[in-house]
């Protein structure tokens, strides 16, 4: 009985303690009205790419001495969780807001609320499909993917069979990269045949399985393009497991340790990198500018690079690659 009562009280106490402890380690006191506070709601969180965006945002925050928080749902399907984060961010009465929508439609009511409250919204990464954001800081995915197609076309000498492992068939980044790659490939390299497009959800393991199946189905497959980090690493794993190292040209997207290692070792020919650090940096920088009343361009292209074994250690590339 005593133990039970103890435990019963324990729940209450633990809850209280946990809350207090968490508050203790909270870095920011956004309630202070004096400091400019800019929450960033991203599309993801754990993924290294988003962590790199966060690094860029934190860099800008330090530079312009503003307060930021960075949040995103556990995976890129959790549209409603992102909406909850957005509404909690607005409840904190922020100065400006950075937002990368998982689904623009769902976010519109809240964004309107932000607009009414005169909170400038800066869209980043895949952006927001609406005219509410004052600007969008992002990679032009179609152009970047076309860069990947160019690289692959050259490496294959303009002929052969190619397949794609795309991370997502619903999001803008997924479809734009897919279409950008396919369009460039068909127009610039008419002798290269795209034999299959598969979707791996950006999941390493699933992309591995897909790659092995692709290699099984198309024995003459000469090149595979992975549209994001998870997909690219999946392809590398799949090719390795199938024992076809060196027989397939792999072009990836984004960076991350596994991908850069694969490029250094020659397993991967090269990859397109966005500039995630730049995305985070530009987002916060644009927010600060908007708060000062400056006019901003409709889009801020944060750029892309093609990198391979030869230029991976160049300072300008190394700076945007994340581990």
């Amino acid at each position: 009985m005593i133990l039970k009562k103890f435990a019963a009280r324990g729940l209450v106490v633990l809850t209280a303690l946990a809350v207090l402890a968490m508050t203790g380690c909270a870095p920011a006191k956004p309630a202070e009205p004096t400091k400019v506070y800019i929450p960033l709601i991203s599309k993801g969180f754990q993924h290294q790419f988003w962590q790199a965006v966060k690094v860029g945002a934190e860099k800008a925050a330090a530079e312009f001495s503003v307060e930021i928080t960075f949040e995103g749902p556990e995976n890129e399907t959790m549209v409603d969780k992102q909406i909850d984060m957005l509404s909690a961010a607005l409840a904190k009465k922020p100065s400006a807001l950075g937002f990368a929508a998982l689904d623009s439609q769902a976010a519109i009511p809240l964004l309107k609320k932000a607009q009414e409250a005169k909170i400038p919204v800066i869209a980043f990464d895949s952006g927001v499909d609406s005219d509410i954001p004052v600007t969008t800081a992002s990679t032009d995915n179609a152009v970047a993917a076309a860069g990947a197609a160019d690289a692959m076309g050259k490496l294959l000498g303009g002929k052969g069979e190619v397949a794609l492992v795309v991370h997502d068939q619903t999001s803008a980044s997924g479809t734009l990269r897919r279409d950008g790659f396919v369009n460039q490939m068909t127009s610039a390299f008419p002798d290269i045949k795209i034999v299959d497009i598969q979707y791996g959800g950006g999941d390493h393991l699933k992309s591995t399985e897909i790659t092995k199946a692709l290699l099984q189905a198309h024995p003459k497959l000469a090149g595979i393009f992975g549209s994001n980090e998870g997909g690219a690493i999946g392809i590398v794993n799949g090719v390795k497991e199938a024992g076809k190292e060196g027989k397939v040209v792999i072009i990836g997207f984004d960076s991350g340790k596994a991908q850069t290692d694969a490029i250094r070792s020659g397993l991967m020919s090269g990859a397109i990198t966005q500039n995630p650090v730049g995305i985070g940096y530009e987002t916060v920088k644009a927010a600060v500018a908007a708060l000062k009343g400056e006019t901003l361009p409709k889009t801020i292209d944060t750029g892309f690079y093609y990198y391979d074994k030869t230029n991976i250690d160049n300072p300008e590339i190394a700076a945007v690659l994340y581990e």
Binding site: M1, L3, K4, A7, A8, G10, L11, V12, L14, T15, A16, A18, V19, L20, M22, T23, C25, A26, P27, A28, K29, P30, A31, F45, T69, F70, E71, G72, E74, N75, T77, M78, V79, D80, I83, D84, M85, S87, A88, A89, L90, A91, K92, K93, D103, Q105, A106, I108, P109, D168, Q169, T170, Y199, G201
Partner: protein, 327 residues
């Protein structure tokens, strides 16, 4: 001996009081720590964010009380939303038919889970895990892996985000979104079903001692199927709520939601070994989860730590459950 057992049973009531006290305490702490927390706007968005998990929690509460588990509710919710999208968005049928289609889809899937569990004797964990994957796949197939938007249908979004209960003349900003009203409505109706109808009686009976119910001449299998079907229909309501809130049926969403729902039920005192649980408890459990997450966000606690705290709360709630049934 006797008194020990009596205390054991009254501890059930205590758990509910305790859960409620934790909820209130949490709200008070957050309100003290941040002026932005106890704002009407924020409280309403907490309620809105609880609605879907709460309705799913109610659905799974029925199944858990029978001593089973339903892992399919997350992706099934998505499938029902997609069905609503097909009816309304693709076929231009009236909204109410879409709502019906979602609930019917849920009920059919629930019936299938029920048949697998009751007739084919599959363990509920496995049977519903299978349905979970099937529902996930079908959502992508039926929708063509693209979100189905309801933007053309003005009324649909207001199922969740509209409001026919407007108390703003009493308290400024007190405009309860319909999703919350529907959530509480589902709670009340479910509570009545659980406590006042034969279905509810057998729900407890099955979880308490299935063999005894069978030997009492009850067609146990048929009722079990009915309970899973009811849970499925409630999942259909959650599907409507989430798709109308997002104004779209998102075919890739859903996985992981079942765990939040189960956590809400468990925190609310629903026993995973069956026979015990209340709808109110589950609702409180769902609120504890969402208040906690919202509050930590408002306090700008880093996201990593938010997840750690949620985990601690779930573990502690289940530990309580274990202590409660230990002699």
């Amino acid at each position: 001996m006797n008194t020990v057992i009596k205390n054991l049973f009254s501890a059930k009531a205590r758990q509910k009081v305790l859960a409620f006290a934790s909820l209130v305490l949490m709200i008070v702490i957050f309100a003290v720590l941040s002026p932005n927390f106890f704002q009407m706007d924020n409280l309403i968005s907490i309620m809105l964010s609880t609605a879907v998990t709460g309705v799913l929690g109610i659905a799974v509460t029925f199944v858990i009380i029978t001593g089973g588990i339903d892992l399919a509710i997350g992706t099934l919710m998505t499938l029902t939303a997609v069905m609503a999208g097909v009816f309304i968005g693709y076929w231009n049928l009236p909204i109410w038919l879409g709502v019906l289609a979602a609930m019917a889809t849920g009920a059919v899937a629930g019936t299938i889970s029920g048949v697998l569990v009751a007739k084919l004797k599959l363990p509920p964990f496995i049977a519903t895990m299978g349905i979970m994957m099937i529902a996930k796949g079908l959502s992508l197939v039926i929708s063509g892996a693209k979100p189905i938007y309801f933007t053309k249908y003005e009324g649909y979004n207001s199922i969740s985000n509209g409001s026919f209960i407007d108390f703003s003349f009493l308290v400024p900003g007190l405009i309860i979104p319909n999703a919350v009203v529907i959530f509480f409505g589902v709670g009340i109706v479910s509570s009545i079903i659980l406590n006042k109808t034969v279905l509810g009686r057998y729900t407890f009976g099955l979880g308490s001692n299935e063999e005894a119910v069978r030997l009492s001449g009850v067609n146990v299998d048929r009722w079990k199927v009915a309970i899973y079907a009811l849970a499925g229909a409630i999942v259909g309501i959650a599907g409507i709520l989430i798709s109308s809130r997002l104004n779209s049926a998102q075919p890739a969403l859903g996985q992981g939601y079942e765990l939040d729902a189960i956590a809400a039920a468990v925190i609310g005192g629903v026993s995973l070994s069956g026979g015990e649980g209340t709808i109110l408890g589950t609702i409180i459990g769902a609120f504890i989860m969402s208040v906690l997450i919202n509050g930590l966000r408002i306090l700008s606690v880093p996201q990593e730590w938010q997840t750690v705290v949620s985990g601690l709360i779930v573990i502690f709630a289940v530990y309580m459950d274990i202590l409660r049934r230990r002699k």
